[in-house]
Symmetry: C2
Subunit: 215 residues, 2 copies
């Protein structure tokens, strides 16, 4: 903690500039390919898309899960950012919620779900931290709309996020771009169903954050 340019204790001499750049390009490429082709795309393909050799991928990430985790955290951060922006809006509370949902869908929150599977540490520190940020912010956005009497009160955080994730999932298999044509229509329809007053009585109870965690 002496100088800003050499903060870490020796032994970590600071990575090279191009190394950092490559790492970032890998994460970006991985996010795109996970969304398009699913969570099982060969790492070699990701490397090619990123414009690097396959060895560079395996150097930066000890195993597939490490890469997946980084991608998931990245998407969560973007989602949290979208929620924060929605919170900053001072106008219509439900309008802010709507805007958040459409932006989050474009970030492909969807891609996360298929990956949280099998050998994957859901309790990794980085993950819980990112998750908590998102939950906190989205919950606030929803609460404000609820207070304003615009959001029906029998729905929870989990209802919103799961439905958005499901609706924004690509049709699996192809990177068919047509899904985007439908996606925002269907999100809007779902949002219309979310408005107060409720037009029906829902089965079960509101899905909370805790429900998702242990699911």
């Amino acid at each position: 903690m002496q100088t800003a340019t050499a903060p870490a204790q020796r032994k970590v001499p600071r990575p090279r500039a191009d190394a950092l750049r490559n790492r970032e390009r890998i994460v970006t490429a991985a996010r795109e390919m996970f969304v398009e082709l699913g969570p099982e795309v060969p790492l070699d393909d990701i490397a090619r898309r990123a414009g690097v050799g396959n060895a560079t991928v395996y150097r930066n990430f000890p195993d597939r899960d490490a890469l997946v985790r980084e991608v998931v955290c990245s998407v969560m951060d973007r989602t949290a950012h979208a929620a924060a922006q929605a919170l900053a809006e001072t106008g219509d509370a439900f309008g802010a919620l709507e805007r958040f949902v459409h932006v989050a869908a474009d970030e492909r929150v969807s891609a996360l779900c298929p990956m949280v599977t099998s050998t994957f540490d859901k309790d990794h520190p980085d993950l819980v931290a990112a998750r908590m940020r998102v939950e906190q912010l989205v919950e606030e956005v929803m609460e404000r709309a609820r207070q304003a009497g615009q959001l029906r009160d029998d729905v929870g955080y989990g209802d919103l996020m799961v439905a958005v994730a499901q609706l924004s999932r690509p049709p699996a298999g192809t990177a068919c771009p047509s899904v985007d044509r439908f996606l925002h229509r269907h999100l809007q329809l779902f949002l219309d169903g979310l408005r107060a007053p409720a037009r029906s009585v829902l089965p079960g109870t509101a899905v909370t954050m805790e429900d998702l965690r242990q699911a």
Copy 2:
């Protein structure tokens, strides 16, 4: 065409009873496993679940696509049946639509989409026949609700079916049963958004059957 017991021209001496039974069990097991594990489950696993040897699977279906096609047709038939029942209901038109949606979701129409990929003949006679039946019936159910002024008129067949398929997709990876807990809640929310009068203006135009076909 002489007697009913020997209708086929010779050379097809009629399959044995247990052979038919096995074929049926394979299709059932395949539907379950496709829904739970995705369209790439090993055929050997399907055979085990069906309680038959793997050779029996390969004997009955020349290749994977043939099995997938049979499963898809089977699900479509069930869906068409659900739609027909909804049409037969004489009460509330929108209520019939709701009931159809919830039943169709339980049939896992969802499982179809991930399979319509890569090497798969979308124009196989059996498929188009089943598809046309479903389209016809569902369109009628929707039209009746629309006429009754209960269904917003800026949505089409494609909007309904794609959204239902997406919402009823299992979270991919695990056969986590919790999804069923959410599923019907989210379907109901979506249906609420479908009701007239429209609570917002949708982006794009109504998704028709033709849109889906060439997508």
